[in-house]
Chain length 697, copies 2
C-alpha cells in the first residue's frame, strides 16, 4: 500500500539546496548517489540547477507527475507546501523538517493542520521530524543518512532518528545488508503498525526490526503483529521500560508511553520477539535473516577449546535449550578419526591442534545427526589453527544442510579474516558463545509461537449478554460506578462462571431463619456499598454454625460498621458457605492507556502482593494465551500438586480467564475488576469475592 515511499516513479525534493552544509543538499546528493533510477525534481525558488539537475521554483511548475515529495524546509512553511503537493497529486510525503509536536503547543497545531491536509488529499505522510526512508533494493535513499547501507533482507523501522544513524553506520562497518530503513519520527500519519504490515508483505524483507518508544494503537499492533509474525520474525526493542525511562521518552518525543507490562504482554501475545537491548536486536537480526529456523531445541557444538564450550553449555542449560545427544553412529564416526584425547560426546572437543580438515569432518558428523537441530562452531586462534580454511569449511557445510549454523570465532586481529568470510556467506558470528546461544533460543521460541501460540483461538462461550447489558444499563442510570460481591457475582454467573451461593440477610430474623434451615459452616460479611475494607470495619465473621451465634454476629457486624462509618448505607449481611479446601487465585482486569484492558492472573495473598508472581495479557485472549498465563507464574507448581498437595483443576481456571476476557470484550465499559479470591479445587473453581469498576462517562 505504501509502495510510493519505496518505489516512486518520481521524487521531488522541496527545500533542495546548493549549500553542502544543508540537509537539502545532503538529501539530494543521497538520492543521486544512491543511483535512484526515477525522475528527480529539486524544488528551490532561488536556484536554476543543483547538482546538475534542473531546479523548479515550486512543485506546480514540475511538468511531470510526482509520486513522492520529500520536504525539508522550515516547519512554518510545510503545511502550505503540503497543500500544493496535494493539489499536484503527490501520493507520499516525507517530512524531514522538525519543529512540530515535539516542540510544544505551537508545533502540535502545525502537525494537526498537516495531518488534515494529508487526509484531505488522500496522501500518506512519513514524519515529520524524521531521518527519511531508504530502500536498497529500489536504490532510493531519501534520507540525510551519511551513506547507503549494503543491500540485504533486514528491514529496520525506528522511532528514534538518532538511533537510526547509529544503526546505519554500524551496518556499513559490519557489512550487514539492509532492505528498507524507515525513520518515522512523530508518526503524524504512517506509524509502526502501517509499516509492519507493509514490510510483512514485502518480498525483499525477511526480518523486521523495530525500535519504538510509544505505541500508536495497542490492539492493532497485536493484530498486525500476529498476522505478520506467522510469516516473518518481528524483533522489537522498546525504549522506556522503567518509570524514569518512560519519563525520559515523554520529555524527548512527547510520546504517550503505556506501561511496560502491557507492552510485554502484547509482544508475547502477538508472537513478536522482544530484544532486551539494541545489541540483542542486532544479534537476533543476523540469525533470523541469515539462517533457517531451528526446528527443535537440540544444539550440537564443535570446538577447539574447552573453556568457551563450557560457557556455551552453561548457557544452553540456563536458557532452557538442550545439548543434543548424538546417535551411536555419530559417536562411532567421530571416534574413527579424532585423536584419543578428544571428546566425542557433545560438545565435541577436537583439541587445540585441530586443522581445517578435522573441523570439517567433525561438523559433517554432527550436523548430519538427526538428533541435532542446530550447530555452533567455536574457534579460538591457536598456534596451528587454520582460521580462514575453517571458515570456508563451515560455509560449505552450511550450503549442504538446512539446519542453522552459527559460529563463535573468538579473538581479535587473527580471526578477522575468517569472520569476514563467514559474514559474506551469511553465517552469523558471535564474539561470545553466550550471545549465540541466546539467539538460538529466540529462534526456538519464535518457532514454538508459530506452531502453537499464534494458532490459539478466542473462544466464545454461550453467555447471557443481554441480561448483563440490562444490569449495566441500570448501573449507568443509577450512576453506580463500583459494585461489590452480590451484584458482581450475578454478572459473573451470567457469563457461566461458578460463584459462591450467598444469602442476604437484611435483619437478625432473616439471618436466624436461614441458619436454622440450612445447616453448615458459614462466613458472614457486611454488605455496604460505602465500605470497601470490610475486615477493618469489623464486617467479617468466620466459622458460623449455629443460628444463635449468627444472630449475635449480625448485630455485632452492623454495629461495628455503623461505628466505623456512621453515614454508610448498610444493606445487610451476606451469609456464605465457608470453603476450606482449594487454593486461592486472583484474576484481575485493569486498563492501560495504550493497550486497553489487561487481564492478570496469579496466586492469592503474599504471592501476588509481595512476590508479584503474576502474568498479564491484553484482552481478548486466546485459549493458548490463557494456558500460558497459568503456566508462566513461578508458583504454578502449587496448583499442579506440589509435594503432597492434590492437583487442582487448572482447566477450570483457564475457562474462567477466557470468560472474563469475553465479558470485558463485550463490555469495555468495565474499567477494572477483581475476582479475589477465586478458589480452585480438585474439580472446578468458585469465585468468592468480586469487585467491578465501571467508567460511565
Amino acid at each position: 500500500m505504501l509502495e510510493y515511499f519505496f518505489k516512486p516513479k518520481s521524487v521531488c525534493l522541496i527545500g533542495a539546496s546548493k549549500n553542502p552544509e544543508k540537509l537539502g543538499f545532503k538529501i539530494l546528493k543521497n538520492i543521486i548517489d544512491g543511483k535512484y533510477n526515477g525522475k528527480i525534481f529539486p524544488v528551490n525558488p532561488n536556484a536554476d540547477t543543483i547538482l546538475n539537475l534542473r531546479c523548479y521554483k515550486n512543485i506546480s511548475e514540475i511538468p511531470d507527475l510526482v509520486d513522492l515529495a520529500v520536504i525539508v524546509i522550515p516547519s512554518d512553511y510545510v503545511c502550505d507546501v503540503a497543500e500544493e503537493c496535494g493539489k499536484k497529486g503527490v501520493k507520499g510525503l516525507i517530512v524531514i523538517s522538525a519543529g512540530f509536536k515535539e516542540t510544544g503547543e505551537e508545533g502540535k497545531k502545525k502537525e494537526e493542520r498537516l495531518k488534515e491536509i494529508v487526509q484531505k488529499y488522500k496522501m500518506r505522510l512519513i514524519g515529520p521530524n524524521c531521518l527519511g526512508v531508504i530502500d536498497t533494493k529500489n536504490k532510493l535513499n531519501a534520507s540525510f543518512a551519511f551513506e547507503m547501507p549494503p543491500e540485504g533482507e533486514i528491514s529496520f523501522i525506528t522511532q528514534s532518528g538518532a538511533l537510526g544513524t547509529a544503526i546505519l553506520d554500524w551496518s556499513i562497518k559490519e557489512n550487514i545488508g539492509l532492505s528498507k530503513f524507515i525513520s518515522f519520527g512523530n508518526k503524524a500519519d504512517v506509524n509502526e503498525i502501517d509499516l509492519i504490515e507493509e514490510l510483512g508483505n514485502d518480498p525483499n524483507t525477511n526480518v523486521i526490526l523495530l525500535y519504538i518508544e510509544g505505541v500508536s494503537d495497542g490492539k492493532k499492533l497485536i493484530d498486525i503483529g500476529k498476522k505478520v509474525s506467522i510469516k516473518k520474525p518481528i524483533i522489537v526493542v522498546k525504549g522506556g521500560k522503567t518509570e524514569k525511562g518512560i519519563k525520559t521518552v515523554s520529555s524527548h518525543t512527547g510520546s504517550l508511553s503505556g506501561s511496560d507490562i502491557a507492552f510485554d504482554a502484547a509482544v508475547e501475545q502477538s508472537g513478536m520477539i522482544r530484544a532486551k537491548t539494541v545489541e540483542e536486536l542486532f544479534d537476533l537480526s543476523l540469525i533470523f535473516s541469515y539462517q533457517p529456523i531451528l526446528k527443535g531445541e537440540n544444539i550440537g557444538i564443535v570446538t577447539n577449546a574447552g573453556g568457551p564450550s563450557v560457557m556455551a553449555v552453561d548457557m544452553i542449560e540456563e536458557i532452557g535449550l538442550k545439548l543434543a545427544e548424538f546417535s551411536p553412529q555419530t559417536i562411532e564416526k567421530l571416534k574413527s578419526f579424532l585423536p584419543s584425547a578428544s571428546n566425542v560426546y557433545n560438545p565435541v572437543d577436537i583439541l587445540g591442534d585441530a586443522k581445517a580438515d578435522r573441523y570439517e569432518k567433525a561438523i559433517e558428523c554432527v550436523i548430519s545427526d538427526e538428533n541435532v537441530d542446530g550447530i555452533m562452531i567455536i574457534l579460538t586462534p591457536q598456534i596451528t589453527t587454520q582460521i580462514e580454511e575453517v571458515a570456508e569449511s563451515i560455509v560449505r557445510k552450511s550450503k549442504q544442510y538446512d539446519k542453522p549454523i552459527i559460529t563463535c570465532f573468538m579473538g581479535g586481529k587473527r580471526v578477522e579474516q575468517g569472520i569476514k568470510i563467514l559474514k559474506e556467506n551469511k553465517i552469523p558470528n558471535y564474539f561470545f558463545p553466550e550471545r549465540g546461544i541466546t539467539s538460538f533460543k529466540a529462534m526456538s521460541d519464535y518457532r514454538k509461537g508459530i506452531e502453537k501460540k499464534l494458532r490459539g483461538k478466542i473462544i466464545k462461550f454461550k453467555v447471557e449478554v443481554e441480561k448483563v447489558k440490562e444490569k449495566i444499563e441500570y448501573l449507568r442510570e443509577q450512576k453506580i460506578e463500583i459494585i461489590g460481591d452480590i451484584e458482581g457475582r450475578e454478572i459473573l454467573s451470567l457469563y457461566g462462571i461458578n460463584v459462591i451461593n450467598s444469602f442476604l440477610a437484611k435483619n437478625q430474623d432473616e439471618c436466624e431463619k436461614f441458619l436454622k434451615e440450612n445447616k453448615g459452616i458459614y462466613v458472614m460479611k457486611l454488605v455496604s456499598p460505602d465500605i470497601i475494607h470490610k475486615t477493618e470495619a469489623g464486617g467479617i465473621r468466620l466459622n458460623i454454625t449455629e443460628a444463635e451465634e449468627g444472630k449475635k454476629a449480625f448485630l455485632e457486624i452492623i454495629n461495628s460498621a455503623k461505628k466505623y462509618k456512621p453515614d454508610a448505607e448498610i444493606k445487610g449481611v451476606q451469609i456464605q458457605p465457608m470453603i476450606k479446601e482449594g487454593i486461592e487465585v486472583i484474576i484481575g482486569v485493569s486498563k492501560d492507556i495504550q493497550f486497553g484492558h489487561l487481564i492478570m492472573f496469579g496466586l492469592g495473598g503474599i504471592y501476588v502482593e509481595l512476590l508479584k508472581d503474576v502474568s498479564f495479557r491484553i484482552i481478548p485472549i486466546t485459549d493458548i494465551d490463557a494456558e500460558n498465563m497459568i503456566n508462566e507464574i513461578k508458583t504454578v507448581k502449587i496448583l499442579k500438586g506440589f509435594r503432597n498437595m492434590p492437583k487442582m483443576d487448572i482447566n477450570s481456571i483457564k475457562e474462567t480467564l477466557l470468560k472474563v476476557s469475553q465479558l470485558v470484550s463485550d463490555f469495555p465499559i468495565i474499567k477494572e475488576m477483581d475476582i479475589n479470591p477465586l478458589i480452585v479445587r480438585e474439580k472446578g473453581c468458585i469465585a468468592i469475592d468480586v469487585r467491578f469498576g465501571f467508567e460511565f462517562n
Copy 2:
C-alpha cells in the same frame, strides 16, 4: 614471591627447536621478539645455535645461573628434565607440555611425580599443559601466544589456555593494555590463589581478571580474595555453572568443580566481582582499569540523541543506580547556553545538531555538579556531529575531574576514529548504553563492598565449647551420626541459641503428671532415633491442653510409631509448648566439596521449597555477611513488617546465624544441620526443630 616467573635474570628453553612449525621455535622467538633483556639459553641436544643463540645440549651445560626454565618436550621426559633443573638451582618452571592429568591415569602419575620433584628442590611450577606466561612491563613473553599484547595495567589469569589465546588476540586488536598474562593449565603447583596474591602485590597491576573452572582451595580463595579485593578489583568468570556445564569442565580438564552456589557465595563474601560472561569481564576490566572508582550512585548523562539515553535511564533504574538530580545552579548554567528544545534535566539532551563546543560545555556543567558521581556521554553520528572533537573534549574533562567518565559512541565506521582517541586516553567506550551502565553498577557494588562488607567481623560469642566437645565425643564413640531434636537443641543451647523447652515423657504417667503441673497448650512429638519423618509415622499431635487428652495422645503416638516401624527404638514423647506467633525461618548447613561448609538462610515452607528464595555464604561468616544474607532474600519484607504484619527481630536471626557459623567452625565434623523451623518473633527467636549430621570417619 613468584617474581622469577615474571622478572627472571635468565631463562632457558628446554625443547628449543629450529623448526618454525614447533612450539619450541615459537616460544624462543617470542622471548627474543618480546625484547627480553636477560640471558636466554636454548636447550636442544641436536642443535648448535637456534635463532642466532648458542644452544646447549642440556641444562647442566649452561655456564650461568638459570632463574626460569620453560619446558616444551614430550611429557615422558619432563620429570627427568625437571630433576636436572632442580639440581641446577632453577627457581621457576613453566611446563608447557601437555600429556599429564588431563589425559587420564598414566598422565596423573607423571604429574604427581613432577610435583614431588618440584617440592624436593623447592622450585615453583606453572603448568603443565599451559600456554605460558607474559609480562609486558618486564618484556618477557614466555608463551606460545601469537603476539605480545600492548602494555597496560590489567592482568589476566586463565585456566583455559584456548580462551587465553582469544583474549590476547582481542587485546591486540582493541589495543587494550595488559600487564601480566598467566595461563596456569593443570595447576599442579602454582594455582589461582598464589597468582591472585602475587598480582595483589604487583604495582604494575590495577585490575585482576580470572577465568576459572575449578577452585583449588575454597576457603583460601575467600581469604586471599578479601585481602586483595580491598586493594584492587578481582573480576572473575567461572566456566561450569550448570550441571551440564560442570560435566563439560570435568571432561576437558579433570577439574573438580564444586557447586555454583558455593562459588557464588565465595565471590560475594570475598568482595570479588563475578562477571556473567567473558564479554562482561572485558567491559568491567576497562572501567576498573581506566577510570577512578565511582564514589556514589548518581549518574549524569549527556547525549545528542533521545533513544539511547532512554535505554541508559531504563538500565539505571533496573539495576539500582540513580539518575543524578542536578543542583539548581547546574540547571541554570545549562539553560544559559543550550537551545530551548534541549532537556536541561538529567539526561541532558543537547540535540542532534550539537557540535563539540556544546558537548564540552554541557559535560563541564554536569561533571562539576557535586550531585553527580559518574558521567556517561552518548554520541550518535548525526550529520553535523564533530566526532573526534567531542572525543577530545571528553579527554580534556577526564583529565580535569576525578570522577569516572564512560562513553557510548554508537555506530560503526564514522565513530571509529573518535573511539580510538577515547581508548588511547583510557576512556572506556561501550557500543551500547546498557553495558556501560552495568559497568558503573559493578563499580558501585565494589566500592560498597570495600566500605562495608570487607570490614565485617567474625564475632566470637562466649559459648560452651568444651561441653559440646564432650557431647560430640560421646556421639563419635557411640557411632551416632544423626541426632534430632532433644540432643540437637542441647548443642544449640550451649552455643547460646534460644531453643524451645521440652519435656521428655517416657511413659503415660510422666506425660500426665507434666501436663497437670504445667498448664498450657502443647505439641507432642515422638522421640525415636530411627524415625525421621514423624508426621508420616503419626508421631505428632497438636493443641494438647488437658492431661487426659495428653495421656491418650501418648499411647496413640507410640502405637502408631510401632506400627510404622516395628523395630524402631522409641525413647518416648516430647512435650513442647505450642508457639503460635512469629514467622518460620530456616537456617541450614551443608558441605561443598571445594568450599567446605555453606550456611543457608530462608523463610520456611513453600518459600524455601518451591521458590528457592534462600541465601548462602561460606562458613565462617562475618556480622555483615549475616546481615546481607537476611536482606538478600526476596521475601525479607515479610520479616520487616509487610502490610499489617509486625516487625520481627531480625537482629536475633543475625545472631543465630553467627552462632551457627561459630559452632560449625569449631566443629567441622558437623556435616550438615538444619534448624527448621526457627521461629522469629517481635522479640527474639526460638529454635523448634533441629537435626545434625556428623561425619565421623
